[in-house]
């Protein structure tokens, strides 16, 4: 149930904006949508497909009960992938460079954005999409930087999908030749499967998580383009072999770009920033 308007959009994602407590937009999944009666409908990008016909039980078409097999050979993620390609086309047309940040909860995604955005902003307009199950805490932190930001609350959902991003970008004032950072829901498993239309996937791990993470959660490391090892300021206090972790990550994905940083002390951030700016210019 939506806690803002009281409608029963169980589990559906909601878009929110920092400092605008009345603002919220439901992202409905189409065929699983439900009748939705709101005032202020202009704020609700609800997609209802009313072409569903629940006409079983009327007894009017009981034919001979013939059974047959229909071949589909359809990719299960096709719908998401098609929508992601539409997002990608939009980003390309506006020359927006999009990064999808993935990590387990607390690895430092928001902290990294808080640190890197003020530096990037001097050269490129930046916008952010924040994904969390609940709260606008992360969007509030980004908003404090004076950056265009929207929060997607996924509710029970454990990852962002292309539809949520598609709705979110309609609500953002995205500029041409800009950088868009998408912070996915903290989760090292599910977000790996859902293309959002980004240019690159950035996976972040921190030194408190164990250097065998890439072997335990290979899918996300396999899908990522960049891996950032964060919190290296804590290396003296934890049992974590950074070289071993890198080796494990590269075993899963030999194309992975590897960075080691401490968002807290600033160590390693200049290299990552330099790399990012080069990519942005080339983009």
């Amino acid at each position: 149930m939506c806690d803002t308007c009281g409608c029963s959009s169980d589990g559906g994602a909601v878009l929110r904006k920092p400092g605008e407590s009345d603002y919220h937009v439901h992202v409905s999944e189409g065929a699983h949508g439900h009748p939705h009666t709101h005032s202020g409908e202009e704020l609700h990008a609800v997609d209802h497909h009313h072409e569903m016909h629940h006409d079983h039980g009327d007894g009017s078409h009981h034919h001979d009960g013939a059974v047959r097999k229909v071949v589909l050979e359809q990719d299960v993620l096709q719908k998401n992938n098609l929508l992601a390609e539409r997002n990608r086309g939009y980003f390309e047309a506006k020359n927006i460079f999009v990064l999808n940040f993935l990590s387990s909860p607390g690895s430092g995604k928001t902290s990294l954005l808080e640190k890197i955005i003020p530096l990037m902003q001097q050269r490129f307009p930046v916008a952010v999409i924040e994904g969390d199950q609940q709260t606008t805490n992360d969007a509030d932190r980004i908003h404090a930087l004076g950056v265009e930001v929207i929060q997607i609350n996924t509710g029970s959902g454990c990852h962002l999908d292309a539809l949520m991003v598609n709705r979110a970008i309609r609500e953002l004032d995205l500029q041409d030749n800009s950088l868009l950072c998408i912070e996915n829901v903290g989760n090292l498993v599910c977000p790996a499967l859902f293309d959002l239309g980004e240019a690159l996937k950035v996976v972040i791990i921190s030194v408190t998580e164990g250097d065998d993470k890439p072997l335990k959660y290979p899918t996300i490391f396999h899908e990522a383009d960049i891996c950032i090892l964060n919190k290296i300021d804590l290396l003296p206090y934890v049992e974590f072999d950074a070289a071993k972790c890198r080796e494990n990550a590269l075993r899963v994905n030999h194309h992975l770009e590897w960075f080691e940083v401490s968002v807290k002390s600033g160590e390693g951030l200049a290299e990552w920033q330099e790399w990012l700016e080069k990519r942005l210019v080339r983009h």
Partner: protein, 114 residues
């Protein structure tokens, strides 16, 4: 839990197809989920009963075929079975291994009743 949202999208896709075909009921759904697809077939099956409730697929039997992973060495060209991405070529020890099968995730077919 991405299995639930995936179960919902599968139900949506098979219902759409079944309607197109004028079916009144879906009695079976055949899926292909490669061993490297990042999907747990058991948890997915678990989600179907909830996801299919009140749909044409409510009583459908979900069958999953799970093709094994196959890697191809980028150095010597050898093909061999792999259980995960961090495969090493058994021929030349190279780590430049490309996954050539096992990542499938398809709705293969549905069985419908008119």
């Amino acid at each position: 839990m991405h299995e639930m949202s995936i179960a919902l999208s599968i139900i949506e896709a098979v219902e759409e197809k079944a309607r197109e075909e004028g079916a009144g009921k879906i009695s079976g759904v055949d899926l292909v989920i490669g061993k490297l697809a990042g999907i747990e077939p058991e948890s997915l099956k678990f989600c179907f009963s909830a996801a299919a409730k009140g749909t044409l697929a409510e009583d459908a039997v979900f069958m999953v075929e799970e093709p094994e992973g196959t890697g191809e060495c980028g150095d010597c060209g050898m093909r061999f079975p792999v259980t995960f991405y961090y495969a090493e070529c058994p021929g030349c020890r190279s780590l430049r291994v490309k996954i050539v099968s096992g990542e499938e995730f398809l709705i293969q077919s549905i069985t419908i009743e008119e």
